[in-house]
Each structure stands twice: as structure tokens, then as C-alpha cells.
């Protein structure tokens, strides 16, 4: 019997973590940089419009589980999703014509120019970020080594922030020991896996998400367009920086002051005039959009 939905994802995550020991892969070995034949870079944008997000309900967690608690969670999450999807509608309508795909491709071009050691063979574009989809992309890759750059852009659950993230996966077409083709995307067979994120926050966001959504939608979504441009631009420096991290860098960053910025928890790496960089196994840059 196949289980779909959240239950399946949680079950698989629990098993994966237990089975592999979840060794972080966000340090790229220096000797893995140079590859014969170059790398195929696959830009994946698994969305067509800006996404909404919600805070998950935790009744099941709080009460020790059970069917009733799970059903309560499902109802709460359904209500939150409906509300978020209604609130984001004016933002999406005002963003009509905004080409996030083009921005993702351009961002990747600039990023690759900032990291020439990646030895780009060619660049592709797709939307399927499922494991089967990525496995198919590996099969179709013209190069043995593939860098997947999986972008996501959304509004935070409170609509206070625009967020752009890039999930980076360095994978190989041929993996000895992989029993099934999809196993090539298992963490243990990836050369590298890391996420970088840029969060752009409204100045003095309201407690009311509807009010925040109105601000993002105003003037043909002027602030949202600007925030997305800023956040994607941040990817061009965050990604090479993440790829360059060493064990010593991580040791230093892990000692930083614990902070909560833009709804994200992490160790403060640096604080500049425009924003702050946090480390929590991933790299997140948080800033406030200027008026």
C-alpha cells in the first residue's frame, strides 16, 4: 500500500535520517571540484507563481499523536492554507508578467561566472523536482556530473517577508552501489548538498498578514518585484560562498551568537549595513527592504 501526502514524507524522512546517519554534505571536498568533462547545470524552478506558506499545526506532536490529533492538525492546516492562498491572490495578480524563470536563469549565469571552477558543460531548465524527475534529468544529462540548482520563491507565513532559496545538489550519473536509479539522489551518494536563502522583510511588518499582503501587492507589486530582484541577486554571491565553505569556516560560524532574524534561527556570521548572515547548517541572508 502506498501512502501519499504528509504521512509518507515524514515516514521517509525519519527512515532516511536513521538509516544514513545524516552526515551533513555542505562541505565540498577540494579534490571534488575538478571533474572531467565539466558539469551539466540544471536549473529547476518547481513553481509558476510566488508561493504561499503556512506554519504547520502541531496538535499531534503536543498530544503524543493519535488519529484525532492528526485530524485536528489537518483541519487547522487546511484553514491556514485557504487563508494564505486567499491573501496571496492580490500579490500574484499584481505580479502578472513578472518572469521569475528568466530571473532564475540569469541569476544562475552570474553565479556560474563567479565560480568558474564549476566547469560548466551546459545549462538546462526544468520544473520537476521529484526524485524520479531528478533521476530522469541525471539520465538525460550530457555530462557525468550534474549540479542541480533548485530555486524556490515565496512569502513567509505571516507575509512579512519575501524569501528566495536555492537548494544545491552535486550528483553523478554513475554511482556504484546505488541499487535503483533514484538512489543516486540519496544524500550518501551526493558529492554535495546545501541550501542558501535570502529573506527580504517589510519595514515594520504588521501583525496582520492581510495588511502585509496588501503592502506587497500595492503599486503593481512594486515592493515584491524589488524584493525578488534583491533576493535572487543575493544568490549570485551566497551560492559561491556556500560552495567555498571549509571545515574551519564552519567551526567559526558555529560559535556565532544565536539569533532569530526574519523568522529564521541561526548563528550570526556577520552583520553589515544592509543585512545579516546567519548559519544553521545552511546560509541565510536577512535584510529589510528600503522604502
Amino acid at each position: 500500500m502506498k501512502i501519499g501526502g504528509v504521512a509518507a514524507v515524514l515516514a521517509c524522512l525519519a527512515l532516511a535520517t536513521g538509516a544514513t546517519g545524516a552526515t551533513p554534505k555542505y562541505l565540498l571536498p577540494r579534490d571534488a571540484r575538478v571533474v572531467e568533462g565539466g558539469r551539466f547545470v540544471d536549473v529547476i524552478v518547481p513553481q509558476q507563481e510566488i508561493k504561499s506558506d503556512i506554519n504547520p499545526s502541531n496538535a499531534a506532536l503536543a498530544t503524543g499523536g493519535g488519529l484525532i490529533a492528526a485530524l485536528i492538525d489537518a483541519k487547522i492546516q487546511a484553514d491556514r492554507t485557504k487563508k494564505a492562498e486567499l491573501e496571496i491572490e492580490p500579490v500574484r495578480s499584481a505580479l502578472a508578467g513578472f518572469d521569475a524563470d528568466k530571473l532564475a536563469k540569469e541569476t544562475t549565469s552570474v553565479m556560474l561566472a563567479n565560480a568558474p571552477w564549476l566547469q560548466v558543460h551546459s545549462v538546462g531548465f526544468g520544473r520537476d523536482d521529484s526524485i524520479v524527475g531528478l533521476s530522469g534529468a541525471l539520465d538525460a544529462s550530457p555530462a557525468e556530473k550534474v549540479l542541480f540548482v533548485l530555486y524556490r520563491y515565496d512569502l513567509s507565513p505571516d507575509f512579512a517577508s519575501v524569501r528566495v532559496s536555492a537548494r544545491l545538489l552535486l550528483a553523478s550519473k554513475t554511482v556504484s552501489g546505488a541499487k535503483a536509479p533514484t538512489n543516486r539522489l540519496d544524500l550518501k551518494y551526493l558529492t554535495y548538498a546545501q541550501t542558501v536563502q535570502s529573506i527580504v522583510t517589510l519595514p515594520s511588518p504588521a501583525k496582520d498578514s492581510t495588511e502585509n499582503a496588501s503592502r506587497w501587492a500595492a503599486d503593481n507589486a512594486a515592493m515584491t518585484r524589488k524584493a525578488l530582484a534583491i533576493a535572487f541577486a543575493d544568490m549570485t554571491t551566497l551560492i559561491p560562498r556556500a560552495l567555498d565553505l571549509s571545515a574551519d569556516d564552519v567551526k567559526v560560524m558555529s560559535k556565532g551568537e544565536r539569533k532569530v532574524l526574519g523568522g529564521h534561527i541561526g548563528r550570526l556570521v556577520e552583520q553589515g549595513a544592509t543585512g545579516s548572515l546567519l548559519f544553521s547548517d545552511d546560509l541565510t541572508y536577512v535584510q529589510t527592504i528600503a522604502h
Binding site: 492546516q77 526544468g126 520544473r127
Partner: protein, 179 residues
């Protein structure tokens, strides 16, 4: 059972036949015999082969996307129109309509599945200024099992909501409505 759940979900291919789930069907309208001449259906999406990913399961577009979009356009027939596909004609009393799929994405958000569709409609009828606008269909449901049936119905329901709005606006262009 848990191990079975971790097998990567195989993609589904959406059906090329647009069928409105009964629970979402718009209330029956009085048949006005307003004729729609669909002169063009198109798909403006980049990477159009993927319609979405729900709980790790990809939804693929039907192989014949033209047939699929024509089927969706025929959905206006259950909204009080007589629909046919034909080349543009200058002297037609029918409302001439072009329909383009601008975006469609089906995805999951915690325990829910969401479908958002945007179709662009341009319509003209002699003596009327014409119509050109985008129509949205947005729908959210609890995701029970990411089954073919669930995902197909959700996608169709999103199209249905957009078609409801298209149907309402096209009414003004019908010859018997003063258009």
C-alpha cells in the same frame, strides 16, 4: 508499510479529457445558444511538460497538450455556450475567442494540495470593444493520498473555477445580450 511509503512516487500523467468533478460544477445556466468560435488555444508556459509536484509525485501534462486544452475550452459548453473550433471569420455572429494557458501549478502545502491556474482570454464580436484579460482558478483541498483521481480532480476543479469567470464575462459579448 513505512518502507513501501518511501519508494519514490511514480509520476502521473494528467488526462487529456477535461471533466468537471460533480461537486464543483457551476450551477446550470439557461442555455442562450450564444455561439463561441474558438480560433486559437495555446500554451505559453515554459517547461510545459510538468504540471506540478505533490508530495514528491510529479504530475505530467498529457502528451497531446493541444487536445487537452481544447477539451478545457469545451468546458465553456456547460456554462451556457455553443462551442466550436474554427478559423477566424470577419462576418461571424459568434464571439471569437483565443485562449492561452499562462500558468498551471499543482503542489502540496503541509497536508494540503493546491492548484493555481491562469488562463488568458481574448474575445471579440463586431460592435463590441472586445475583451482581453487573465482569469484565475485557485483551489485548495486536503491531500489524502496524492492519488491519480485526487490530483486529476483538483486540476480540473481549478480550470473549472477559471472557466466560470470566463463564462460570466463572455456573456456581455453575446449578440442577444447587446454585444
Amino acid at each position: 508499510m513505512l518502507l513501501a511509503a518511501c519508494v519514490p512516487a511514480q509520476p502521473m500523467t494528467a488526462s487529456a479529457a477535461f471533466v468537471e468533478p460533480l461537486a464543483d460544477r457551476a450551477p446550470a445556466q439557461d442555455a442562450t445558444a450564444c455561439g463561441l468560435r474558438i480560433v486559437e488555444v495555446g500554451d505559453a508556459r515554459l517547461a510545459p511538460e510538468t504540471l506540478g509536484v505533490v508530495s514528491g509525485r510529479a504530475i505530467k501534462a498529457p502528451p497531446d497538450r493541444d487536445a487537452w486544452l481544447r477539451s478545457v475550452a469545451m468546458g465553456l459548453g456547460s456554462r451556457g455556450y455553443s462551442v466550436r473550433f474554427a478559423a477566424p471569420a470577419g462576418d461571424s455572429r459568434e464571439v471569437q475567442v483565443s485562449i492561452t494557458l499562462k500558468s498551471l501549478w499543482v503542489y502540496d502545502l503541509t497536508s494540503n494540495k493546491v492548484a493555481n491556474v491562469v488562463i488568458s482570454v481574448a474575445a471579440q464580436q463586431p460592435g463590441h470593444p472586445g475583451l482581453s484579460r487573465d482569469y484565475r482558478g485557485d483551489i485548495t483541498r486536503v491531500n489524502w493520498s496524492s492519488s491519480d483521481d485526487e490530483l486529476q480532480k483538483l486540476t480540473n476543479a481549478a480550470f473549472g473555477l477559471a472557466l466560470d469567470k470566463v463564462g460570466q464575462d463572455l456573456r456581455a459579448l453575446c449578440p442577444d445580450q447587446g454585444g
